[in-house]
């Protein structure tokens, strides 16, 4: 694409050891072999293969796509590294792609920095890297620069990954959490809480087997369809950590409006509901990795809903509430029972209740 091309292809190094040692972080041949074998091979692009200290990006190729650069970064420390529906690699790509996408940007390039605990099997790294490559292909981005560090046993939990991402925002697209207005509709793009429930189950320490997979997916294409159908959309957020409840609070606070949602309209899988019932968790605060919240002007809400539902990643989309007159920053929910309650920010993380 529009990365300045390198010179000559070279032979890639190989790692023969079964697991990573501190030698692989020492800056010498072992490190170069690890980077080649694991990352350069998987990500397979010329910009990375030259192993310069930076990726070089052709500006003309960027400016032809829009008038602003979007730039974001995110770190991934998920436990376990592999879970139903994804793994740390897929998560690291989708997470950063989605942070760009919900700004209306077309995601283009990612970086990948890996912090590896000594003793981690090299095959595990190969699996993660190939999963990243696959997710990057799904998202239409290239991983063009990276870094690897190896730390002592116990200094990190097997593998931490940080990705940064660059994208371009087309002219005229202006999304922001501060833009919600009274009367706007609040939409979500599908079933909520799958990722959070899948991760808690995959940790395996609660002896609950819930057949739920993470919803981890790149949302750039859904955003593109949504904005094409409803160009007046005011604000998009991906509902990751803290869930939909947190995102709605952020939007209400930034826009100085109140938001009311309908519990009956929030799409949550029966399995996730039951899981939350047993542990005393609130699904509105569970993380999602492939769901967004959209604020759309009332007259564009039906088009926005239809566009999302027509997309494979938005089939379960729903209008869950609206922006209303009320105390600025306050989010309330009309419960399925007919009552009303405040949906506040969490203080810390949700902890399961005793009884």
């Amino acid at each position: 694409m529009n990365v300045a091309r390198g010179m000559t292809p070279r032979a890639l190094g190989e790692v023969r050891a079964p697991s990573v040692t501190l030698a692989h972080g020492g800056g010498g041949k072992a490190m170069k072999d690890l980077i080649d074998d694991v990352f350069v091979r998987a990500f397979d692009n010329d910009a990375l293969a030259t192993l310069e200290d930076q990726a070089r990006v052709d500006l003309a190729g960027l400016t032809s796509r829009g008038d602003r650069l979007a730039f974001t970064t995110d770190s991934f420390v998920v436990d376990p590294l592999f879970f139903p529906g994804g793994d740390i690699g897929r998560l690291a790509v989708c997470g950063t792609v989605n942070d760009l996408a919900v700004g209306g940007a077309r995601p283009l390039f990612l970086s990948c920095a890996a912090i590896v605990e000594e003793g981690t099997p090299v095959d595990l790294l190969r699996k993660v890297a190939s999963s990243m490559a696959e997710a990057a292909a799904d998202a239409g981005v290239e991983i063009v620069t990276g870094d690897t560090k190896v730390v002592h046993k116990g200094a990190c939990d097997k593998l931490f990954v940080t990705t940064s991402g660059v994208g371009v925002i087309p002219k005229g697209v202006d999304l922001g959490a501060h833009r919600a207005r009274e009367g706007d509709a609040v939409l979500v793009s599908g079933l909520l809480g799958d990722h959070g429930a899948a991760i808690l189950c995959a940790r395996g320490d609660m002896a609950l087997e819930t057949p739920v997979a993470s919803d981890c997916a790149p949302l750039h294409d859904l955003v593109r369809s949504l904005l094409a159908a409803a160009p007046g959309v005011r604000s998009l957020r991906d509902a990751t950590r803290g869930g939909v409840a947190t995102v709605l609070n952020e939007i209400a606070a930034a826009s100085l409006v109140a938001i009311e949602i309908e519990e009956a309209a929030t799409p949550i899988r029966e399995e996730v509901k039951a899981f939350c019932e047993i542990l005393g968790l609130d699904p509105l605060y569970l993380a999602n990795e492939g769901k967004l919240v959209a604020i759309a002007p009332r007259n564009e809400a039906p088009a926005a809903l239809d566009a999302m539902r027509a997309h494979p990643l938005g089939r379960g989309a729903s209008i869950v509430g609206r922006v209303v007159v009320g105390e600025p920053g306050r989010v309330t929910m009309r419960t399925i029972f007919g009552g009303r309650r405040i949906v506040d920010m969490l203080v810390g993380e949700q902890l399961p209740r005793i009884c």
Binding site: R340, R341, D344, V347, L351
Partner: protein, 376 residues
């Protein structure tokens, strides 16, 4: 029946609310003296806030959120003891999740974990026992916490540890009993509660007979209630009906779960493993006679307090706190001097701000929308 939505039917709720309104209208309740119904159990408090039930009720009914949140009534000194145990070399300290955040005078268990103590969240005492099996060179301590609801599972775990001859497992027993606590509230001079929603899961274990004194001696009605919102509305209606008809009885709305005789095997395990303590210290309520249990001598080797030197820290509740008055219904959470200012869920001063089931924390976080707006 999936037992997920059946007891949350809005249409049925509306009918019940109308019935309650009609009932209250027939009782000529003075505006300045609403009827106070206490739900004893933290699980009920949680449901009441989660479904916004307070806001659906007529103004003449005030719900008083009782002492039945085991995390809330845990005194600060006990948390300090937990931290001291957890910080011992070689100890794996296991606890239910919501006890992690309760502040001690120095730190919470969450902070102790951050400082290097091996504190692990478990979902059952059997998980703690499994850790003991897997780590024979470590001492695994289970923080036994809760009312009669969780008491049997801890007792059965101790019996299992004995059966297997496990040497490195013990229980830091902080289990408490509900009946002396209700009695303490009823005996307090500023108490003005008109009726009770009785605990559901505690009653599943102990049955309905232990509450008889509430009706007999204190002339207050009680309805043992389920945790679904329709259960709670129906139970409120039953309490109000007793008040209007001038009856005082212990009724059981939660008959699908609570047998009148309780659960015999659970009671047998409880009776075998525990004995009553002379008194136990409660946050917000002070010392209450016979309100806690400890392991019997026969199980001393599973009793953390007897195998380690537990500091036994005693710390008075902060002076500014009015938790006791809130618990007894003398004031509403937002009428406390420090509610929302010095005392918030981030920096709780008082017991009731600690767990999401505590009256103050629930009011602060979920908020009874109508009441709070009216109060502001």
């Amino acid at each position: 029946m999936k037992y997920l939505d059946e007891f949350r039917d809005a249409a049925k709720a509306e009918i019940l609310v109308r019935e309650i309104e009609t009932l209250v209208a027939s009782m000529s309740v003075p505006d300045d003296r609403p009827l106070q119904i206490m739900e004893v159990c933290g699980g009920h408090t949680h449901s009441i806030f989660r479904y916004g039930i307070e806001g659906m009720l007529p103004r003449q009914i005030e719900l008083v959120h009782g002492p039945g949140c085991p995390v809330c009534v845990l005194p600060m000194g006990r948390v300090d003891d937990c931290v001291a145990i957890a910080e011992r070399q070689g100890v794996i300290f296991t606890t239910f999740g919501d006890a992690m955040r309760v502040p001690g005078s120095r730190k919470s268990l969450l902070q102790a974990k951050a400082d290097g103590a091996d504190v692990r969240m478990v979902y059952s005492p059997m998980d703690a026992l499994a850790l003991a099996r897997a780590n024979p060179d470590r001492q695994v301590v289970f923080f036994g916490l809760g009312f009669e609801t969780t008491m049997p599972s801890t007792a059965l775990t101790v019996l299992e540890a004995e059966r297997e001859g496990i040497q490195n497992f013990s229980v830091f027993c902080n289990h408490i009993t509900i009946v002396p606590t209700i009695k303490a509230i009823l005996d307090s001079p500023d108490m003005r509660i008109d009726g009770f929603l009785g605990p559901g899961h505690v009653s599943m274990v102990i049955g309905t007979a232990p509450y008889a004194f509430i009706a007999r001696h204190y002339r207050k009605p009680m309805v043992i209630a389920g945790f679904e919102p329709l259960d709670i509305l129906q139970s409120l209606w039953m309490v109000l009906k007793q008040i209007r008809d001038g009856r005082v009885e212990i009724e059981n709305q939660y008959a699908r779960v609570v047998p009148d005789a309780g659960n015999a095997p659970a009671l047998a395990a409880v009776g075998r493993v525990y004995e009553l303590r002379e008194y136990f210290e409660w946050r917000g309520l002070g010392s209450i006679d016979h309100s806690g249990v400890r392991l019997r001598d026969a199980y001393a080797r599973f009793d953390t307090e007897r195998i380690f030197a537990v500091p036994g820290v005693r710390i008075a509740d902060p002076k500014a706190c009015q938790c006791g008055e809130v618990l007894k219904g003398a004031i509403r959470p937002w009428q406390c001097k420090v509610f929302g200012s010095a005392c918030t869920p981030e920096t709780p001063l008082g017991a009731l701000m600690v767990s999401s089931e505590g009256a103050c924390s629930a009011t602060y976080q979920y908020g009874g929308v109508k009441r709070r707006e009216a109060a502001e």
